[in-house]
């Protein structure tokens, strides 16, 4: 706190000095501006330092761990690729990687399809959009674990879904939905679809209606106008929503643990197991890095697919 006061007083002093000279000297103005610019640059340092110490550096540490065989300060530490090779040697782990990607991709696709009509309706077609958006967020404050558990009981063999279907005579025997990949996908879709609605709504509501009117005037059908204008302009929102759905789905372990069975073990479960039960931090670190690399690679690939690299590459701020 004292340091801040000293800095401010110092700045005041310099400022007063410069004001005296500024009135007649352009070079001092430029110096003053660069002085301010230096101060503006300095305020990014706290966040950067935090970032480097508590995010980059821990990643670096697990990077080291994944190439080692033992704890970091132990005597027998040597470089090894064994941990990474283990991922490829056992078919088991490759299957889990593939399965996690498959589940996450399916979840994301369904999320997009489910949330697009809602976002479109809220953004364009109703006056109550603010109220409805806020209402949509209310269940979000109840931790997703509780809601997933409610789903667990909804989907179980004596659960409400089966009770309804049985009483309406649609099926003869109760459906075994729980403890399967389907249940996990359903749970993931339920948890993360609201996250997709927000960016989509934000993007679609910024689309100028006059663009669509212009397209219609030039002879496009409603469908054509939608796909060529609205949909294309909302791709940014779809991309942002995908980040909020695909990545958490890929790394989730609570939902597969609660709703899934032996055929729906995902990457997150393996990692949790390695760190908290098996105690093999080396392999766990390797697997975590594999997860991180996979996630980043898939997102980069996805953004190239849609030609969206411009979003994060050369933005003019």
């Amino acid at each position: 706190m004292k340091l801040a006061i000293v800095l401010i007083k110092f700045n005041n002093y310099i400022h007063n000095l410069i004001v005296i000279f500024t009135k007649s000297n352009i070079n001092v103005i430029l110096y003053y501006m660069s002085f301010i610019s230096k101060y503006n640059k300095k305020i990014i340092y706290p966040a950067l330092i935090w970032f480097i110490v508590f995010f980059i550096f821990p990643l670096f540490i697990i990077f080291i761990y994944s190439f080692a065989t033992n704890y970091l300060f132990s005597k027998e530490l040597h470089f090894t690729l064994k941990n990474f090779l283990l991922i490829f040697q056992k078919k088991h782990y490759l299957i889990i990687l593939g399965r996690s990607i498959k589940i996450s991709v399916i979840t994301t696709i369904f999320s997009i399809f489910f949330s697009y009509p809602i976002a479109y309706f809220l953004a364009k077609k109703t006056k109550f959009d603010k109220i409805l958006i806020v209402t949509l967020m209310i269940p979000f404050w109840i931790n997703y674990l509780i809601r997933i558990f409610a789903w667990k009981l909804l989907l179980s063999e004596n659960g409400i879904l089966n009770q309804i279907l049985l009483s309406l005579n649609i099926i003869d025997k109760p459906l075994k939905v729980l403890y399967s990949q389907t249940a996990v996908i359903l749970g993931l879709i339920y948890t993360y679809t609201p996250m997709m609605v927000l960016p989509l709504y934000a993007t679609i509501s910024k689309i100028d209606n006059t663009l669509i009117e212009a397209a219609r005037d030039l002879g496009a059908s409603r469908v054509r106008a939608f796909f060529d204008i609205t949909f294309k302009l909302s791709l940014t929102g779809i991309f942002a929503g995908t980040l909020l759905v695909f990545i958490p789905a890929l790394g989730s372990f609570a939902i597969p643990a609660i709703l899934g069975g032996t055929d729906s073990v995902m990457i997150g479960n393996i990692i949790e197991n390695q760190f908290l039960h098996v105690g093999n931090w080396n392999f766990g670190s390797a697997f975590t890095l594999a997860l991180a690399g996979l996630s980043i690679a898939l997102i980069l690939f996805y953004s190239k697919l849609f030609g969206l690299e411009s979003i994060y590459k050369n933005r003019e701020f």
């Binding site: 501006m33 230096k38 640059k41 697990i62 761990y65 489910f114 790394g251 766990g284 701020f317």
Partner: protein, 273 residues
Amino acid sequence: MQNRKNIFLTIYTIIFYIYIFAPIFLIFIFAWNKAEGYNFPLQGFTWEWFTKFFQDMNALKAIKNSIIIALTSATISTLLGASLTIGIIKSVKRHKTFLLTLLLLPVLMPSLTIGISSLVFFRTLNIPLGIPVVIISHVSISISYVFLIMMGRIEGIDLEIQEAALDLGANWFESLKDVVFPVILPAVLAGWLFSFMISWNEFIVTYFLIGPELTLPIYIFSQLRFGISPKVNVISVFITFFTIFIILLITATQTIYKKLRVRTINHFGNINN
């Protein structure tokens, strides 16, 4: 034709909202239900679970811890994220792409990665796990999200007003505090709120770093793992009502504020006439 399309979308929206709220209805119903399971038929009305909840020290402590963690990490990450945003917009010219890519990394990775790396980091340095460590990790995740949200909102705002304020005689600190900050306040609030939500809902990172303490998601997870407890239903009821209350409070405050402004302007307008 227009009406037909609207009806389709309206029905879809209604079904969607029912889908989102269905488990919530269930939770509400069974919070007052006598039996422990989620089975129909209902067994009768009772306040039993509410009383049990207020007597459960663990549950109350878990909620308190969650609130503390969410408030602290939201505030810290908003401070850091806001200064980061302003600094980057105003003064970073070289290596901008590299810096942005670096800052976006937490968004591109599952929070599991951050949880694990933080766990390894703190255990290697022999730092004890617990609430402070959880706060630190939540901040690490949230800074990037705050940065993204603020970038999205500040884009339309011209931050040259800082230079203008400087020209008019403010010093550097004042120019930010009195001129720039009120203009970006909505973005800052949005970032704070999002950061709070992330921390409040974050289970995975907390799970690895909480050590012996309890937060709400951890408490819920342990309750759900070892069997059904209607106390989690009670918690959900309270959270829902509290959220609705906060929303109404904010809306009421905004309406009152707007009405006061209009009245003041009208009042002084009349005087000037």
